[in-house]
């Protein structure tokens, strides 16, 4: 086991209600999408404390906002709202001059070590570069000494052999070591490591993680470890935060989250990991559907379109009916698809937001209602129907009403905090996820 020192309670960085929204400009892509207004909510109301000396894992699907959050913590992207407090100052509001000083303390390691190194710069120069920009070495000789020391620390020895090398002469693992040497040379307190091993093969991955643990021990570093790989997170982190669509849905000590995952999304992630154990080749149970578009997040709980436990207050809307229909249409034949699709006057009506939707029928509303009734009869356990409070014909249209959406917030439970209505006694009749497991 790696030594996991009791993280002392003092905060290195405190993130309070942080949001980073990217405006969708008039780009060609946005116009084609017909969403020329609006913003991608890459990070949307995130709060947590990074404790001195701990490794906090940020785990989540592609596009959940992990990189954006990491960059915001280094002042590389400006928050839309909220605060990032480091030593009593707000990184998000710091002036560029102050940021430059702060960056000595806050460093980043990237996924692709190749792209992170200048191909025209030899290692000695590249690794000494931060000393030059931050004026941290009085003389060239002092700089050289520190470069040698950093190379030794990351295991690029014998140093004389590596000083004059160029990135092209190095393997993937060696490049990542060089990137780490450059990150630690200014004596930082925090390293944000964004998928530092995901491009490396297994044996090299283990070596780099080992190096990072050693550096933490020797230099007292704090890490924010960004990954979508749960296995390395479980091994490497003291605490993990599970992210979904710009929000933290569950956060707590690694051992607890892996032993007793509470949020349905965390459970889905854990269930999806393939294990190289040949005796355990059962088919995995996957949540349905796609990661939603962060520019149009689902109402209520962002996970509700995929959640097997979703119920009334989780945020049902017309789009969910569209997804239900489309999923059905991937399963039935072309002829039935065409017949069913032609019942609708305009499928685009299923993109209308709101608690009450009116769907116009192409010819007769009864046919449309019959289709919905049949869908419900075929799969009564479908969570969508738990959110429908009323459904009836009104002239040439079918009108559906949904239960009012409630947005979940992190609820503290022991040392873990979970953002899910199943644990909210005011919303969930039994407030016990295990009772709902089908």
């Amino acid at each position: 086991m790696p030594t996991k020192p009791d993280p002392t309670d003092d905060a290195l960085i405190e993130v309070r209600d942080l949001s980073v929204h990217y405006r969708l400009g008039g780009s060609a892509a946005a116009r084609l999408l017909g969403r020329d207004t609006g913003a991608v909510r890459a990070v949307d109301g995130v709060s947590f404390v990074l404790r001195r000396g701990e490794v906090l894992g940020l785990v989540g699907e592609s596009g959940s906002g992990k990189t954006t959050l990491g960059r915001a913590m280094l002042g590389l992207v400006r928050p839309t709202s909220g605060r990032i407090l480091y030593r009593g100052r707000d990184i998000g509001a710091a002036r560029e001059r102050d940021l430059r000083r702060l960056r000595r303390d806050l460093q980043m390691i990237f996924q692709d070590p190749h792209a992170a190194l200048n191909p025209a710069m030899d290692l000695g120069t590249a690794i000494g570069h931060p000393l030059r920009i931050h004026r941290l070495a009085a003389t060239p000789a002092a700089r050289h000494r520190r470069v040698v020391e950093a190379l030794e620390r990351v295991g690029l020895v014998p140093v004389e052999q590596f000083l004059g090398k160029y990135p092209a002469d190095l393997s993937g693992g060696q490049k990542q070591r060089a990137v780490i040497a450059r990150a630690i040379i200014s004596g930082p307190s925090l390293l944000v490591a964004d998928e530092p091993v995901s491009m490396l093969d297994m044996s090299v991955r283990a070596k780099i993680l080992d190096l990072m643990l050693e550096l933490r021990r020797d230099l007292g570093l704090t890490y924010l470890y960004i990954t979508h790989d749960l296995a390395t997170a479980k091994f490497f982190c003291d605490r993990v935060a599970i992210c979904y669509l710009g929000k933290i849905v569950e956060i707590g000590p690694t051992t607890q989250i892996f032993a007793e995952p509470r949020h349905p999304y965390t459970r889905a992630l854990l269930a999806a990991i393939p294990e190289p154990d040949p005796s355990r080749t059962v088919m995995r149970d996957l949540p349905r559907g796609e990661i939603p578009d962060a520019a149009r997040p689902p109402t209520g709980c962002a996970f509700h379109p995929r959640c097997p436990h979703a119920f009334g207050p989780c945020g049902w809307e017309a789009r969910d009916l569209r997804a239900l229909l489309e999923s059905r249409w991937t399963r039935i034949g072309d002829d039935r698809y065409r017949a069913e699709q032609s019942l609708f006057a305009d499928l685009a009506e299923l993109d209308t937001p709101g608690r009450r939707i009116q769907i116009r029928a192409a010819a007769n509303a009864q046919g449309l209602l019959d289709l919905l009734t049949e869908m419900r009869a075929v799969d009564p356990a479908e969570p969508f129907w738990r959110g429908v409070t009323d459904i009836q014909i009104d002239g040439d249209r079918v009108v559906i009403e949904f239960a009012p959406p409630v947005e979940p917030h992190l609820l503290p439970m022991d040392e873990v905090a979970v953002s899910c209505h199943l644990y909210d006694a005011n919303l969930s009749p039994d407030a016990q996820v295990s009772d709902r497991t089908p």
């Binding site: 592609s62 990351v154 693992g173 294990e275 698809y337």
Partner: protein
């Protein structure tokens, strides 16, 4: 939605009645038989022997995982099997695909096999989807190129059922690539490879950049494909978990050679080759409590070590190992390994099974 033709809709969900059923009707058990394949790249430092005397067989519907550290020649082998190597590469040996030897075949004939017979799935989906073309146009173009006698309606029908198989609804047929998520694009790419129902697909790290959920979806899709169309699959990946879950057999490659091959359960459950054992031990899984790694790195393939190429890193190396090339030994039914620990004893001179003393390997001498 696209305007539908006045043709009556075709019968649906029928088993695919076309070239694929012919190929599965062929009774030969092997789809692909590779013998003594060598592939090398000419460089100014001399030839890089990326694939060195590789033999393997693949039956229709079978999935073979190919694993090994970076630089062991996995991609080279995968591309070589499809005749998709860069011009700097030279090949020797035999690749029998549906009875024909691909080696020595003219580039034009090889190209005619791509699509209908062969498909390759690459890692990054957007590189092959044209952002200015609708999904429907991608499919129409591919089908038109390879199966010009299909009518437009037949092509649409084929495309929609390929997309359905990937969970992409027909309502999205006329969308542009950027209107999909990364995982959906990846699946559209796969559908585009599979719409031609190739008999053999090489998937080279198809899930490296993806998260577990998308990855799991793709693994499931590849499994369906084998079941429904008897497509044979070579799956190249660093993720041994994926291999355990989705392949029948696994080949472990080291320094251009296949050092162990067999049923996935056998090989992962009771690895015969020290390299396989070390590779499995290095894998970080949910059960990992201690990091393990193989010291050193795979060798430079211009000048690999003599004898067993793993010997400088092997914890069990013997005196025979640097002196002689190990030979393939059947350690169990359908499970072979090339390692002197498994003999044959007749080829190990007396005293040569003594432990070899190794020099120290620096921690940064890594791939």
């Amino acid at each position: 939605m696209s305007a539908d033709r006045d043709r009556p809709p075709e019968p649906e969900d029928a088993p695919p009645a076309d070239s694929r059923s012919e190929s599965s009707a062929r009774t030969s058990t092997e789809l692909l038989a590779v013998r003594d394949l060598r592939i090398w790249y000419g460089t100014d430092r001399g030839p890089v022997r990326a694939v060195d005397r590789v033999s393997l067989d693949l039956a229709p519907g079978q999935a073979l995982g190919l694993v090994g550290e970076s630089g062991c020649g996995k991609s080279t082998l995968g591309r070589g099997l499809l005749g998709m190597l860069p011009p700097a590469a030279a090949t020797d040996g035999e690749i029998r695909f549906q009875g024909r030897n691909l080696i020595g075949m003219s580039p034009a004939r090889l190209r005619s096999l791509h699509g209908p017979a062969h498909g390759m799935i690459f890692q990054e989906p957007l590189t092959r989807l044209d952002p200015l073309m609708r999904v429907s146009e991608h499919f129409e173009e591919t089908l038109h190129t390879h199966q010009p006698d299909l009518t437009r309606d037949e092509a649409r029908h084929r495309a929609l059922s390929a997309l359905r198989g990937m969970g992409i609804p027909p309502t999205r047929y006329r969308s542009y690539p950027h209107e999909f998520s990364g995982g959906m694009r990846q699946r559209i790419m796969i559908a585009l490879t599979l719409v031609l129902r190739p008999a053999f697909v090489v998937a080279d790290e198809p899930t490296t950049a993806l998260d577990v959920l998308v990855e799991a979806q793709i693994v499931r899709i590849l499994a369906d494909l084998r079941r429904n169309f008897a497509t044979a699959l070579l799956l190249i990946t660093h993720n041994l978990g994926i291999v355990a879950e989705s392949c029948d057999r696994v080949a472990v490659m080291y320094a251009g050679r296949i050092v162990e091959e067999g049923d996935v359960r056998q090989v992962f459950g009771a690895p015969a080759h020290p390299y396989t054992r070390e590779l499995l031990a290095s894998t970080i899984s949910l059960a990992t409590t201690e990091l393990h790694y193989i010291p050193g790195a795979p060798p430079d393939l211009v000048d690999p070590p003599p004898g067993c190429r793993f010997h400088p890193r092997c914890p069990e190396a013997m005196r025979v190992c640097p002196a002689r090339d190990p030979v393939d030994v059947e350690v169990d039914v359908g499970h072979r390994a090339a390692c002197w620990l498994h003999g044959p004893e007749s080829l190990v001179p007396p005293g040569m099974d003594a432990r070899l003393t190794q020099g120290a390997i620096g921690v940064a001498d890594e791939a």
